[in-house]
Amino acid sequence: MDVSNTHLLDEAVVTTTIDAVINWGREASLWPFVFGTACCAIEFMSTAASRYDISRFGAEVLRFSPRHADLLVVAGTISYKQAPILKQIYDQMPEPKWVIAVGACASTGGFYDNYTTLQGIDEIVPVDVYVAGCPPRPEAIIDAILDIQRQLKREKSFEVRNTEFKGKLDDA
């Protein structure tokens, strides 16, 4: 097609669905809130730095207010003391929102099977992608972001997610 001929584009019509358009937009503009607590947060720093460069996947706009973010990246060990804060931050994020549990601790408590460590953040908040590793390499964190992108493409864009979820700290 000769693009210099603007006349042709003027009359162009594309048919699609609302979901496809909205999800296409969302997919490449995830705004992560990094709930970094421990070693995994250092690997997240590498993911954001120039070599791995998270911006190649449209997720470099790191937000430090949960109210601006739609992707919660939990990077590090969550203790029982930290759990209510994690839940508060999750609750403050507007819908739709996705959660990545980065590393063994956030996914399962890791090798901290003890009195102070929460045995996986999915006791408190719903998790969409778990990343293995202690800590995972930056490639694995990027892979999790791509996974979220694949997931959200299949979702209904106006539906509220995870209405069924009931965490340990949610009121009975």
């Binding site: 607590t37 070693c39 947060a41 250092i42 730095a49 430090f64 003391k81 804060i85 901290y112 390499r137």
Partner: protein
């Protein structure tokens, strides 16, 4: 030589420690911890004993006192009036063991949450018994006395109270500071830690010595190998073994490289906090090059678990010199470029100089060690004061500041990286050939090939894996100059393959205890940079 404690009666504790401080000159309180004798085979007269670790003003001698606690609910006299660092140390003992301290200004939990019931480091507390926490404390119990002391009132003086953290981009992890503000100026502050308490010390009591190595990685995760070495070195001292020359050189090389990359991440993040993002790229990217070298060497980028009791996992790989030299060149370049942007930079100087200065006397009182203490002008570095691994044979300088402000704390780190690289280059040229591990089948693993081929080696391997390395009965405090300061391990062994008790002396814990005091009368934006310059690593602070 082992550091064995002197036994004291609890009635004479306060007097003896006063004497040790004022007359004998033991001015630096390193740590306070307790031992629960419940599971000891031959129990001591009382269930709990307290251990006080002090260091002489000339930094060569260490003094350990041990006190029997007749009744933990009555407790012993607090020494927080003598040492600023004792305040949090005693709070931790109270939190973990439930031992009371008489006349302590604010005896409450420090690591575990406020709804926690029981004391986890007691031997009768089940390790896996977790307790959910539903809300955080408001910290007003600490803030109100602080304000009252300054004749201030929240409402009448129109003060605003804000939380910096525990989830804050510039809190470098999970640290919470509650600050009362008059405009932008902090008039009073209180800190809360423990958000990353991961039960390191309890986990140690359930694992054998080599299994603890991966846990030590995650203390200061910015320089993981250094923690490995500090722990292995302490255990080796208890066993009375020395590594072959080559093993020691490898330890020096990887330790100094770890110091460099630790300082790199501290400075990169600190400069990012003040808006110098370009510095972040220049300083952080060489860290990735160092990771390449470390992952080639150990198989992991960050948490390397490279050391073992009596040596290390394996020797250096073929061609390591070229790779390491390349990494050093890249780090050099990053430092030079970053310094070009900040030296004589008006914004950098104005924002850092004379901000939150800590005098030498204060720093010792707070229990500062490492670069933060040296920034205050105290010439204390364990590599000079009590050289180990032959550090005295290397040509390098101790970097010392003068004012102890945020500027000094950052610049000391910049210069220390160059000194560390000097050490690495010397060690690379001098490293001998030969064994890396202690050649004793009770301590180190036989070669994998022999395990499959011979019954004796197979049995050795089995015993080491199942029972672990047996450490002679006794107790010892071993110290190591880590990137952030003196990293110490106080280990009690009952002669088995699992430690009876391990206590970490974390440098960041004491730096953090001082933080709310030193940010007073400075602005919020200064407090962020001060926190960055102290390089608080939550992993080792909260353990």
């Amino acid at each position: 030589m082992l550091n064995t404690p002197i036994i004291l009666q609890s009635s004479e504790l306060f007097q003896t420690i006063t004497h040790a401080k004022n007359v004998l000159g033991f001015t630096l309180l390193l740590d306070i911890t307790a031992i629960d004798n419940l599971h000891k085979k031959r129990p001591a007269s009382t269930r709990f004993e307290l251990v006080y670790i002090l260091r002489h003003a000339a930094f060569k001698e260490t003094l350990l006192y041990k006190v029997s606690v007749a009744d933990e609910t009555l407790g012993v006299e607090s020494i927080s009036s003598l040492f600023g660092s004792a305040e949090w140390a005693e709070r931790e003992v109270y939190d973990q063991y439930g031992i009371h301290f008489i006349n302590h200004p604010m005896l409450k939990r420090v690591l575990n949450h406020m709804q926690f019931v029981g004391h986890p480091l007691r031997k009768d507390y089940t390790i896996t018994k977790g307790q959910y926490c539903t809300s955080s404390q408001d910290l007003m119990d600490e803030m109100k006395p602080l304000l009252k002391h300054r004749n201030l009132d929240l409402n009448n003086d129109n003060l605003m109270v804000v939380n910096l953290g525990p989830s804050h981009p510039a809190s470098h992890g999970t640290i919470r500071t509650l600050a009362a503000l008059d405009g932008e100026t902090i008039v009073a502050a209180a800190a809360e830690i423990g958000y990353l308490h991961r039960g390191f010390e309890k986990s140690c009591e359930n694992h054998n010595y080599n299994q603890i190595i991966p846990y030590t990685d995650r203390l200061n995760y910015c320089s993981a190998i250094m923690n490995n070495i500090a722990f292995a070195k302490t255990v080796e001292e208890m066993m009375g073994i020395t590594l072959p020359e080559r093993g020691i050189y490898i330890r020096i090389i990887v330790a100094e490289l770890s110091r460099v990359i630790d300082h790199l991440v501290c400075l990169a993040a600190g400069l990012l906090d003040m808006g110098g993002q370009t510095n972040y790229w220049y300083l952080y990217n060489p860290r990735d090059n160092a990771y390449d070298f470390l992952s080639k060497l150990t198989g992991a980028r960050l948490t390397n678990s490279y050391m073992r009791i009596g040596g290390m996992a394996h020797d250096l790989y073929e061609g390591w010199e070229g790779d390491l030299r390349d990494v050093l060149t890249k780090i050099d370049f990053g430092i030079t470029e970053s310094l070009k942007m900040i030296t004589h930079n008006r914004i950098f100087n104005d924002r850092l100089q004379n901000i939150s200065p800590v005098s030498a006397k204060q720093a010792i009182d707070y229990g500062f060690t490492g670069p933060n203490l040296r920034a205050s002008g105290v010439a204390y570095d364990l590599r000079f004061a009590k050289p180990y691994y032959g550090y005295e044979t290397f040509d390098f300088d101790m970097v010392i500041g003068s004012v102890g402000d945020t500027y000094d704390r950052m610049m000391v780190r910049f210069d220390e990286m160059n000194e560390s690289m000097k050490i690495i280059r010397q060690a690379m040229s001098r490293i001998p050939d030969g064994d890396i591990n202690v050649n004793d089948r009770r301590i180190t693993m036989p070669a994998k090939g022999c395990v499959y081929g011979g019954i004796e080696d197979m049995m050795n391997q089995f015993k080491l894996v199942i029972e672990g390395v047996h450490v002679p009965k006794g107790e010892h405090y071993g110290s190591f100059e880590a990137a952030n300061g003196e990293l110490g391990f106080y280990i009690v062994s009952d002669g088995s393959g699992t430690p009876y008790k391990v206590k970490v002396r974390p440098p960041s814990f004491y730096h953090m205890a001082a933080y709310p005091k030193i940010i007073e009368n400075y602005q919020v934006a200064d407090a962020i940079l001060t926190l960055g310059s102290l390089n608080i690593i939550a992993g080792e602070m909260d353990r």
